[in-house]
């Protein structure tokens, strides 16, 4: 079992004819992802890596039963592409590109809510269900099927956490990258709830960072979860008031500092891991 993505998911790639789209289509298929079609307006009827191309997402749904989309398009088109997928009835949409305007992502989030879809991103590496399917740009080298779910703001940290879980013999159920843009389609609390309902997931690792409020927003959910949450927060030693990398990762006053987040999550019952190596130790302590 897994969340959001399995080998049966019928995946399309929006922007399949572009450089990133075609490169990662090939990679995802090699991993076993069931890519049924792709879109590229004006190029309907062509194929990329033997995958049929259509002009619109709705054709992909009607013709191939698509229920999952990965978007590889420049930022100014990505928001509308996500809306297109949601309107076509696709249930999970992964927005890979970065720097999507805030207003666009707010519209995407609203449409997803109204139409029962889940949007991951923007500025996300995507998600992977090890041994089954990979949707996005995640390098599969560190991942192995197993029993821990992971959710992270950052792509690279998703890889490092899996690296450690795999090394320690735990493996992963599904690993979700929420994305680094300031407004995200999904946040920690929604993904945590999905993991809580997934029988194969025995514990959850969440990785946050300075800036924003998405970690704090997960507190009421963590208090109610039936499964343990181990968390890491990046930026404990970040200089205040400086912008570091992710648009989201900026410390303003006392709002969203690493230490306030750590305190809030510990109070909610989470277990704090300072480095990746702490994660298997905590899992062992919890007899998982």
């Amino acid at each position: 079992m897994a969340i959001l993505l399995t080998k049966r998911s019928k995946v399309i790639v929006q922007g399949i004819t572009g450089g990133g789209g075609s490169f990662h289509t090939k990679r995802m298929m090699e991993y076993g992802t069931n890519i049924v079609a792709g879109t590229s307006p004006g190029k309907g009827g062509q194929t990329v890596e033997n995958v049929p191309v259509r002009n619109t997402a709705v054709e992909c749904v009607e013709e191939f039963g698509a229920d999952f989309s990965v978007i590889f398009l420049p930022a100014q088109f990505a928001g509308e592409a996500a809306l297109e997928a949601i309107y076509a009835g696709i249930k999970t949409v992964v927005v890979v590109p970065e720097h999507i305007p805030i207003a666009d992502m707010m519209k995407v989030r609203k449409a997803a809510r109204e139409r029962g879809a889940v949007v991951i991103g923007s500025n996300t590496a995507g998600l992977i269900t090890p041994g089954e399917a990979n949707a996005g740009i995640i390098p599969d080298i560190a991942f192995a099927p197993g029993r821990i779910g992971t959710v992270s703001r950052s792509g690279s940290l998703t890889y490092y956490v899996a690296d450690m879980l795999t090394r320690a013999g735990y493996g992963e159920t599904t690993c979700v990258g929420l994305g680094g843009d300031p407004v995200l389609g999904s946040t920690f609390d929604e993904i945590l709830r999905l993991f809580d309902k997934d029988d194969s997931t025995k514990a959850i690792v969440m990785v946050g960072e300075i800036g924003g409020v998405y970690e704090e927003r997960a507190v009421p959910t963590i208090e109610k979860l039936s499964k343990p949450v181990i968390f890491m927060i990046g930026g404990v030693f970040a200089p205040p008031g400086k912008r570091m990398g992710h648009a989201g990762a900026i410390v303003e006053g006392n709002l969203g500092t690493a230490n306030t987040k750590i305190a809030a999550l510990e109070k909610a019952g989470g277990y704090h891991a300072r480095t990746f190596m702490d994660i298997p130790e905590i899992l062992q302590r919890l007899s998982i």
Partner: protein, 396 residues
Amino acid sequence: MRLYEYEAKKLFGKYGIPLPIGGLAKSAKEAEKISGEIGMPVVLKSQVLTGGRGKAGGIKIEDRAEAIPGLAEELFKLKIKGFPVQTLLVEKALEIKKELYLGITINRAEYKITIIASDSGGVDIETVAAEHPEKIHRVELEIDDPFYSFQAIRLAGEIGLPSEKVRDFAKIALGLFEFFKSYDAKLAEINPLVLTGSGDLIAADARVSLDDDALFRHADLKDMGIEKRHEEGELTPRETQAREWGIPYLDLDGDIGMFPGGAGFGIMGNDFIRYFGGQPANFMDSGGGPTPERLSRMLVLLDENPQVKAIFGARFGGISRCDDFAKGVVKFLREHGLSKPMVMRMTGNMWQEGVRIFEEARKESPELFEKIEFHGIEKPIEEIAKRAVELAREAG
């Protein structure tokens, strides 16, 4: 992207928001001339991209015309949080009866647009919210919702404006909302919104932050001279160099040069170095899919920093592939050369290709690789970070 007050006011003017009369001065002479035209008393306002101007002495009210050139000179010598004052906004001082607050922002946690009004303007609104939450009145809207006049009139009543003023207030609030939506603002604030002795509502200040990622939709800003700017105060020479090369970079106090992959591990990696007893010399982010050129320059920044004693490199190739990473490192070694010990780990997308590129270059010129300790996925990243701390200690 934060706007200067005068830029924000120029835009507010297009939406019918009443503003004080005044003009922009680049010299004491110009300030004197504008003051002469608008008449005393005037207020001289330093134009800088940071808050706290008033506390830093960047705002002066004056009723003697002969004092203006001296005051202006004084302000032009000022640096506010590292920002030199280069422009003054010279405005007719308002006769203040009451100071109100009106602001619009994005509530990221709730995915709403929030319109906030208060009868306690002219002070930090966060302080008001913390100490007197009952003085904060708000309207929360979904992203596509309109903001209706009746909602604004209700707000006006809540902040205690008399009936004859509520329509003026609503006009300003609707104008501000229209501006906010039209220009993809993240924040649009009038603090204070002044009720004058003669009963007019006037936007005495203007604070605006736009969404950088939506600037492509607003070509007209460029025509107004409003372009993407850097919002940092004073930069170090290396930060200036990095900015020219388009590399997010910050100088820190330590001696370990940080050469990480994405922003996420860039932030976390600095924590690891501290946990293991080391001190990072910088924060850096390669950005998604960096070119070999950019990666090479990242290493130049570290190698030429005399403070750096050892370099910690990490690449977990996602959208930034290992083959490009290896090309960047090899380019740096060939064109610049490495003068400090470096320990690095590379794995992820296209790692086999990355290793091949390294091995070929090493065969060709092994001397270039003498200072590099290279690892793949076989070693956890913590071991690499610990080794970097060790190398810096040995060199120190």
